[in-house]
Point group: C2
Chain length 205, copies 2
DNA sequence: GTCTAATCGTGAAATTTAGAACGATTGAGA
DNA sequence: TCTCAATCGTTCTAAATTTCACGATTAGAC
């Protein structure tokens, strides 16, 4: 992957998701204008994004859904299956374990970690729950790439430390608190409160 | 609120969250450098963001936590309590209903809507579950501002249509599919698959 | 075969956002 | 009182991202 802008990569994932859906509906062709209508992203933006990955469209016609999908996937996903470890098996953690979307996509939850002894040892949706102390060992054994923080904010930093120590390269942090990690580890914060308040603020102007 | 950059508003919410925490710890003063260490945002960025809201810091000293917090809140939140309606009471929806963070913050879940009759009429964590058809009426009665889509992708558009019809001004969409709404309605998409894949792609370079 | 309308792809302009540099201010200590 | 070091706030610069304008291409109609 060369110098593809970060935001283009993120949008490519949206295009892939959309194309997967169109292909399932037996749709063979799609134009940047069609994609714009579906995704809400402008057609120019879409064409420019796609042009990063080569000339794959046909003027007057548009893009072949299957071909475009393959091109995008080859660039951004490269047939990888992403192995993910979950920390925290509360309500949110359990919802992640039961999330139906992961199976179809390139994501596999490989292990869950939890403090509460009553949950340890169980299997939820095929994923075993381990004590947090076993994380480094299990994460190495399962080749997990990424981690999810679904513990209370009061424990998010200590969990993050374990994740870094275990060699995870990226973290989705649902705890409503910032976590400190080396800059080689990427963090995506998803604070439900902030997401809602941000929407509200931006809708007020 | 004047011409404050969108990203500055989003970061202000992070500062507020951080300051809330510091104040709870009886911390009286904080510098931009301190905040940078905690949040991972650069100190320059933080000072520049804050300067949008007035001169509230003291050179050589930093910011008074309580004062800065109040200034930020006055600008971006204005003491509002945001009323939110939830659509879909599956695993994720239930996790949202039980999410502990909302109570402390300016967010109140006012109603939940669900198709499955076995769930309708129940109260979860104090929030009543209604049939989807009642949404327009209940949303008006409860003065809901925002909505959360926590239904399967196959029904996300029809739920979004109801939300728009009901007058909601912003939507957090957890369904892994784009939804079409008038541009007066803001949408924040949170697709767990895409969040993870994005992290993975970006960690690979 | 030619024309045409639709669509792609791209280079340049405009906008947004982040970063760097630096002067201004302030409290503390000699 | 004077100096100094820390920190704020602001202006300018640079980078990233989006938007615009337009040429290039192509399938299909005639």
């Amino acid at each position: 992957m060369k110098n593809i802008p970060r935001k283009t990569v993120d949008r490519a994932l949206i295009y892939i998701r959309t194309l997967d859906h169109l292909i399932k509906e037996k749709r063979y062709l799609v134009s940047s204008k069609d994609l714009a209508l579906i995704t809400g992203i402008s057609d120019v933006q879409i064409r420019k994004d796609i042009s990063n990955f080569g000339k794959v469209g046909t003027p007057r016609i548009g893009y072949k859904t299957a071909e475009l999908n393959k091109t995008l996937k080859d660039f951004v996903l490269q047939e990888n299956v992403v192995h993910v470890a979950l920390f925290g098996v509360g309500h949110l953690g359990t919802a992640m374990l039961r999330y139906p979307g992961f199976n179809e996509d390139n994501i596999k939850l490989v292990a869950a970690f939890e403090k509460d002894k009553s949950k340890i040892g169980k299997k939820i949706n095929g994923v075993r729950v381990y004590p947090v102390e076993m994380a480094p060992k299990i994460i190495k054994r399962t080749h997990a790439d990424l981690g999810i923080v679904a513990v209370p904010a009061s424990h998010s930093q200590e969990v993050a430390d374990i994740m870094v120590l275990s060699g995870l390269k990226g973290i989705v942090n649902f705890a409503p608190a910032s976590i400190s990690v080396p800059k080689s580890v990427l963090v995506k914060d998803i604070d439900f409160t902030i997401e809602l308040l941000s929407l509200f603020c931006n809708s007020q102007r």
